[in-house]
């Protein structure tokens, strides 16, 4: 019954709209709107426009609300401390020795992880280019960043190669059985949680 009433209501609205002077064939109005220059459109609007006359003013209540808001507003230096920590430290470079000193790696673990990743890449690439993101991709973001970091070391040491395709955005990598020497180039690759 309710659905039937809704159908009747919609039919009523449809009939009212069609019967009103506002109803014009959509295709016709689209054509007309395309034909009109912007100036003519805005002129048509202004000629049918009756702007509201009003005074914008600050009431004593509004002033009080603003005062309370301002008084209770945490200074900007403190505002996002909980979420993002303190400000003042600019982004920098974390090198291998920093990671060792931070206890992220021990020297033995790091060398072992590098060799393990090199071996894995050697097997997967087998002389062919493999997709960089597929290779570093893993279940967790932390693991992905760790593999990307280690791979960057392999590439810097000349134990792996990296190739980018600017048009498609694809990045390829390949392990080398022997170290190569050459002039290294820097490549910035962003890694996000969604990749």
């Amino acid at each position: 019954m309710l659905e039937l009433a809704q159908i009747v209501k919609l039919q009523d609205q449809w009939l009212k709209q069609r019967a009103s002077a506002l109803y014009i064939d959509p295709l016709l109005i689209q054509l007309k709107l395309k034909l009109l220059p912007k100036e003519a459109l805005s002129e048509a609007f202004v000629k049918s426009w009756h702007p509201v006359a009003q005074v914008d003013q600050l009431s004593p209540r509004g002033l009080e609300k603003a005062f309370v808001y301002w008084r209770e507003l945490t200074p900007i230096s403190e505002r996002f401390k909980d979420q993002f920590g303190t400000y003042g430290t600019r982004p920098g470079v974390v090198d291998y020795s920093d990671l060792v000193s931070l206890g992220v790696f021990t020297r033995d673990e790091f060398e072992g992880s590098l060799s393990q990743l090199h071996e894995e890449l050697l097997q997967k690439s087998n002389g062919e280019w493999v997709d960089y993101r597929a290779f570093i991709g893993d279940d967790s973001f932390e693991s992905k960043v760790r593999r990307a970091y280690l791979l960057a070391f392999l590439i810097s040491e000349g134990r792996a190669l990296l190739k980018t395709e600017p048009l498609t955005g694809n990045i390829w990598t390949m392990a080398l059985a022997e170290k190569v020497k050459g002039l290294p180039k820097s490549v910035a690759i962003s890694i996000t949680g969604e990749d």
Partner: protein, 187 residues
């Protein structure tokens, strides 16, 4: 008898003055005063007071305009003080409104009306982008929705907003667009 008439007249003048103050000072986020608020400020006979006020402000080029609420009741109606006649183009320009923004709004209102009063925002954007840059379309639609000229529901459908019903003579707009387009086509 005379004293009673004088007292009635003074009361009426006081109520008309009160009605003007209520209408001209913006209280909430949106301009205008709802019917139930008018009743609270002016009493049950508030419509008569509004009629008198509308005549009083006419020489200043203003009028009191009623926008019917969604349920059509007196309480839900919104009363506004607005320009009786549209401003000139130069007056509109000096108020800081960009011609391009007005053109976007005019085209959007006409497009929505031609689609029986509601259309998907994506469809409006697609249509407008043939004539305006993408950034202006996005910016203008958001701005006009925020200011009440357009309404966007949670399903991404655009409707004509209460402010358009209050400020824009939609029939005149549609007629002007159709007639100007014919002139443009002849040229």
């Amino acid at each position: 008898m005379m004293e009673s008439e004088t007292a009635d007249k003074a009361l009426l003048e006081r109520k008309v003055r009160r009605a003007f103050q209520v209408l001209v000072l913006q209280r909430g986020r949106n301009p205008g005063v709802k019917g139930w608020e008018m009743k609270r400020h002016l009493g049950r006979e508030y419509r008569k007071i509004i009629e008198v006020l509308s005549e009083d402000v006419a020489p200043m080029g203003l009028e009191v305009f009623e926008v019917k609420g969604p349920d059509g009741t007196d309480d839900s109606s919104r009363f506004l003080l607005r320009f009786k006649e549209p401003p000139t183009i130069s007056e509109a320009e000096t108020s800081g409104i960009r011609i391009d923004d007005l053109a976007v709004l005019a085209a959007t209102i006409a497009f929505i009306n031609s689609k029986q009063g509601r259309v998907a925002r994506r469809e409006v954007e697609q249509f407008l982008r043939e004539k305006f840059p993408k950034w202006r379309v996005d910016y203008s639609l958001d701005r006009y929705a925020k200011r009440g000229y357009l309404e966007q529901d949670d399903r991404g459908m655009l409707h004509i907003g209460w402010r358009t019903h209050a400020e824009v003579d939609e029939k005149t707009l549609m007629t002007l667009i159709l007639s100007r387009a014919q002139e443009a086509a002849k040229k």
